[in-house]
Symmetry: C2
Subunit: 214 residues, 2 copies
């Protein structure tokens, strides 16, 4: 009964098998997770914020340049500094969130390249010499990729997120990055969302509307 | 022995508990996953590409505008059209990958807003009336967020990714999006990576270098 198969067409063992995540994990990351705007009165452990960053930083970025920076706004004093930069429709969401992450990019991210890609020390100089709009484009693109990783990393740790673009970057930068070193890109409320206050989920595009296989 | 705790400071049950993903899942998404450049000779099921998109599309985007579009380059004919736009150092990676996804944005993504956010039909007109650089900034930011979700969704399904920015968008757009409707942002090789051909992992920034808690 336990003899090995001798069928000539028995499937060959795949060279490397990594199973898909199970439905609960896919649900927590994608299909059940929701953007939250109302928060349960439950604080977020600072260690979880660090853990979320330490997961998100492992995702790929252009040349490993890792330009995403994060200011986690937690204290009432810091929240008070953030609110004047938030658009009116988002004020209550931000005010009540246990944490609001200011997702930002490092305006001179190439200075870290000797540390992040030691085998190619010439990359720092190459990036430093690019025109500022190209530097900004490269920094933004990898920082937004990193923001995507961060949102899913937070969800993977059991947290809920409420990212929002409705804020004034200049006001937020003046309040949190007065030396100009970092530039804010996105806010992301973090906490434990109140499922009772969710609206019905908005639709998404079908595969055939957004993708092609060529 | 099984009597309930009567300690006055026993922890109150949290109102909603969703456990963190286990170590294997976090490894598959973040800590064990690697950017691959060499591929095992094993094809990718088209159904997996669709499934990866259908997970990634659930992630949050600005106003649910969902501007990410994807052309999956699979056939030898399509791969031959892609290669002239790829930088020399990336040619072999792209040539040998079972699939190369051209991650793009929809240059008139606001036209889908009546479908994607039916409760706010005015959003289409508001976005349509913005200056083109602002439209592009909004489209890029949510498309890159979506690209981050897509890379992790593919990993969640057991696939490996090799995203790369070293290509000429104008050449790729002319080959794949000649009507100008979509604009390429990033290439992402997809398949089953050969672990024997990985280099040692590059470092990342410490929490204290990239983050602050305020």
């Amino acid at each position: 009964m336990a003899s090995p198969s001798i069928l000539p067409y028995a499937p060959v063992a795949a060279p490397r098998e990594r199973p898909a995540l199970d439905g609960a994990a896919l649900g927590a990351l994608f299909t059940d997770a929701r953007t939250h705007a109302a928060w349960l009165p439950r604080p977020v452990e600072p260690a979880l914020l660090q853990r979320a960053y330490e997961l998100a930083r492992m995702g790929p970025t252009g040349g490993n340049a890792s330009p995403l920076r994060i200011a986690f706004v937690v204290s009432p004093e810091a929240k008070a500094r953030l609110l004047p930069g938030v658009m009116e429709g988002n004020l209550e969401k931000v005010r009540t969130a246990p944490v609001t992450a200011v997702l930002a990019w490092d305006r001179t991210f190439w200075e870290k390249l000797p540390q992040l890609f030691p085998a190619r020390p010439e990359m720092r100089d190459r990036l430093a010499g690019l025109p500022p709009p190209v530097q900004e484009r490269l920094g933004h693109q990898s920082a937004y990729l990193g923001a995507g990783y961060f949102i899913l990393a937070a969800r993977a740790l059991g947290l809920d997120c409420g990212p929002l673009g409705g804020f004034d970057p200049a006001t937020v930068d003046a309040a949190f990055f007065p030396d100009g070193a970092w530039g804010s890109l996105l806010l992301c409320n973090i906490g434990y969302g109140d499922p009772a206050q969710l609206h019905p989920r908005l639709p998404r595009l079908a595969f055939s509307e957004a993708c092609r296989i060529e």
